[in-house]
């Protein structure tokens, strides 16, 4: 099946999933829930415990769009609607027919040519209504309760090749999913404010693993925007929707659609739905930690904060929690680095034909890699506010900070002064704070460090740092003396240790450079067909230079200049 076909199937999968497995399954789950002891949601900790009726949410989104339309000049309204019409028609040229959307676009086109302002607004609102219906999640507390009863075990079973370890997902440093950071503090904040989790994005496995990490850490569930392609499987789509995901179709480029998404996000935040955004926008193709972030959804944090301030709410604060994910091996490494090298990242913003879409590869990866100790490290960082300022750990000081913070958006009478341009700058600052925070919570793993040491030795011997030249060298030149790599590794290890001592970095490494190398060689041999690095007698061989580049890129932040 072509990627396009898959995506288009997904465009209505969420809708179809409801009737297909919806009511009956919901009743079934409700029945099971009453007999099984899953985790109940605490209304004081999350708005997900009190889902609003679907119609009410959708009507609200349409009404707010109506208000936005009313505030626009004729020219601005026409521009926005023309953009929506153009972008949607362009999208539909490459997608299977969507008769309901076609009909709405026909109306919109007629209104734009011959209609008055009222007709244009109505046609635009019909489109908004379709989108609102698609975006809105189907969270169901009873399904969540059931899921928390058996999903962690099921996921453990799926991810484990060793039955004896079925129950040992744990929060220890050596657990397969190692969860680090001050969880107690984040848990405390989740009771008094709305949290936005902002992770680095490495793999499509990020979302389920983050969900598992949140569950294991005793944190409430977070809602998040899942790509429409993930809903293409009706069963997965059904579960995603009912466990807190809402739908984001990245093939929809219309400005109006983005406004609907932002509006939905603001509604989630103002109703205390802790949310998860991937500020990088997509998986890091190069494996480098994100240095640029997309600010569209992040900006909804400050919008929601101001709305809650205007409403005089005591729980008005919105805090962003950086989360750095580090994987020993990455399921889609080979595809992602090829995409990066082909500079096709933008064209292939949504990759639907990678390893994640191949069940056998996914299963093999789960069996061979995710069963390892510290296969994945989820490191929660210091929460920051909507402007990127660190949030205090002390409750009294935190309350003072909150009162003080209002000065950034309120006048001397305490009235919120709306200023979109100012808020964009504030969100830029937040983005900078996250870019700064992620590397500090990165955990250096053996595969990253060994690949870095080997790559540095290789680059030095070839007299170039140009990755394109290095990946094209013949196999003979990619053989490196093991002792030289170990020496380099020891130097890098010392450098990393310094940073760890200074609290600027985390590691999960065995003791010596030799141990690190041995562990890395073992790890590399477990999954990828062509190896990033392998031992051949007294030499090391960079079998697949693109993979070696991919894993070494994870530590590229160590080379970043600290200069302004």
């Amino acid at each position: 099946m072509s990627p396009r076909r898959k995506a288009s199937l997904g465009s209505r999968a969420a809708e179809r999933a409801g009737p297909w497995v919806g009511r009956g399954a919901s009743r079934l789950m409700g029945g099971i829930a009453s007999r099984m002891s899953g985790r109940d949601l605490d209304p004081a900790r999350t708005g997900l415990a009190r889902p609003k009726p679907r119609k009410l949410v959708n009507d609200g989104m349409v009404e707010r769009s109506r208000a936005r339309f009313a505030a626009m000049s004729d020219r601005a309204l026409t521009d926005a609607l023309e953009d929506a019409l153009y972008q949607e028609r362009k999208r539909l040229q490459r997608a299977p027919p969507e008769p309901d959307v076609d009909a709405v676009l026909e109306d919109l086109a007629r209104a734009l040519v011959r209609g008055d302002r009222e007709a244009k607004e109505l046609a635009g609102l019909r489109l908004v209504s379709l989108w609102a219906e698609e975006v809105h999640g189907h969270f169901d507390p009873s399904v969540y309760k059931v899921a928390t009863r058996f999903l962690p075990r099921a996921l453990t079973g799926l991810l484990s090749g060793r039955p004896d370890r079925l129950r040992d997902w744990e929060l220890s440093k050596s657990g397969r999913l190692a969860v680090r950071g001050d969880i107690g503090w984040i848990e405390e904040l989740s009771r008094e404010a709305t949290l936005v989790l902002v992770p680095t994005h490495v793999s499509n496995l990020d979302s389920p693993l983050i969900g598992l990490a949140l569950y294991l850490a005793g944190l409430p569930p977070f809602t998040y925007g899942a790509g429409l392609n993930l809903f293409s499987n009706p069963v997965v789509g059904w579960w995603l929707g009912r466990l807190g995901a809402y739908t984001v179709d990245r093939t929809k480029r219309a400005r109006l659609y983005k406004e609907v998404l932002k509006d939905y996000s603001v509604r989630c935040l103002t109703t205390r739905h802790h949310s998860l955004f991937f500020p990088g926008g997509t998986r890091s193709r190069s494996h480098e930690i994100e240095t640029h972030v997309k600010k569209g959804l992040m900006g909804t944090g400050i919008e929601a904060w101001q709305e809650m301030l205007e409403a005089g709410r005591k729980d008005s604060e919105v805090y962003f929690v950086p989360l750095t994910l580090s994987f020993t091996l990455v399921l889609e490494a080979a595809t992602l680095i090829q995409d990066h090298l082909a500079e096709a990242g933008k064209q292939r913003y949504i990759i639907t034909d990678d390893e994640f879409a191949q069940p056998r590869v996914l299963a093999a990866f789960a069996r061979r890699v995710l069963d390892l100790d510290a296969a994945c490290v989820a490191h929660f960082g210091t929460p920051v506010d909507c402007l990127g300022h660190a949030v205090s750990r002390d409750p009294v000081e935190r309350a003072e900070q909150a009162a003080h913070r209002r000065g950034y958006v309120c006048d001397r009478d305490g009235t919120v002064q709306r200023d979109e341009q100012r808020d964009r700058e504030y969100t830029n600052r937040l983005g900078d704070a996250l870019v700064d925070a992620w590397p500090r919570h990165a955990d250096v793993l053996s595969t990253h460090l060994a690949a870095r040491a080997a790559w540095r030795v290789y680059a030095r011997r070839e007299g170039t740092t140009d990755p394109f030249r290095l990946i094209q060298q013949t196999a003979g030149k990619r053989r490196l003396p093991r002792a030289e790599v170990e020496e380099e590794l020891a130097r890098e290890l010392a450098r990393v240790d310094e940073k760890v001592q200074a609290g600027e970095l985390g590691t999960l490494l065995p003791g010596t450079a030799g141990d690190v190398l041995a562990e890395a060689l073992d790890r590399f041999g477990r999954y990828h067909r062509s190896l990033a690095l392998e031992a051949q007698g007294s030499e090391l061989f960079i079998g697949d230079p693109t993979l070696c580049l991919y894993y070494q890129n994870r530590l590229s932040f160590l080379d970043r200049s600290e200069a302004p």
Binding site: H404, R405, G407, Y408, C410, Q421, A563, P564
Partner: protein
Amino acid sequence: MKVGILGGGAWGQALGRLVIAAGHEPYIAYRDQKPPHLLPSTNDPPKVAEACDLLIAAVSARELRSAIAMTRPGPRNRVVVAGRGLDPGSGRWLTDVVESASDVIRTGALAGPAPTHEILNGALCAGVVASPYDDVRSLLTEALHSSRYRVYESRDLVGVQLAGAVIPVLATLTGLAQNLQGAGVGVHALVLTRGLAEAARLARAVGADPVTFRGLAGVGDLVAAQAQPGHPYYDAGKSLASGDTSVGPEMVARALGQLARRHGVEMPLTEGLVALYEGVAPVEVVQRLMARPATAEEH
């Protein structure tokens, strides 16, 4: 509108007059002795931060950190730095100093010719305010723009601050070039044009817009420095030509040199000025500069 001015010196007083000319009320914070003028003022700087949303810092780069620390501006305040140069301690932008010394994040910079005595005597002038925040630029424009003083706006905060640091160096170098024995108008022209070219190179490297140097903060300020009799930096250049290295923008030149090296940018004229402060004779500095290999005229 009440406009706070930090610094009771001549520049603070001149800005106070401009605020009045724009139809607003200045409120000047001074540190030690009450300035000899009748403009509303106080030696209790926090009062100014409390009373005014907009604060203009009319103090030197050296005094900025302590002035901000004493004033204690808060989240509601917008602070526009009207001084030149870089932070002597860290070599950072002056708006970074404001942000690190207070809770203010909405900052801006005012640059351009600042002939204080002319302004105090009612002469016409103009400046450029730069800030990424629309409201900072519009507040400052409202506070100062009048028939006496035109305010232009820019979003290039880094470029305007860089110009504020580079122009004292170039003004000093032109003063030196005009007073160096054996150097004629050719050297003067060379220093001016190549000085602006190296500034533009650095601007590109630090993410600023090199075009900013063509504006009031760059060429405008440099022209004023040369046209104004007794301009401190121009006079410093004269002193350097005669071997007196106790004056001039030594700290700024060193900080710019470091910044340029960090970004891999060549700034031979700035490095030449640093060499003078390190004791190299002016003639030798000129010889070194003239001995550089021929190159394309890039800007």
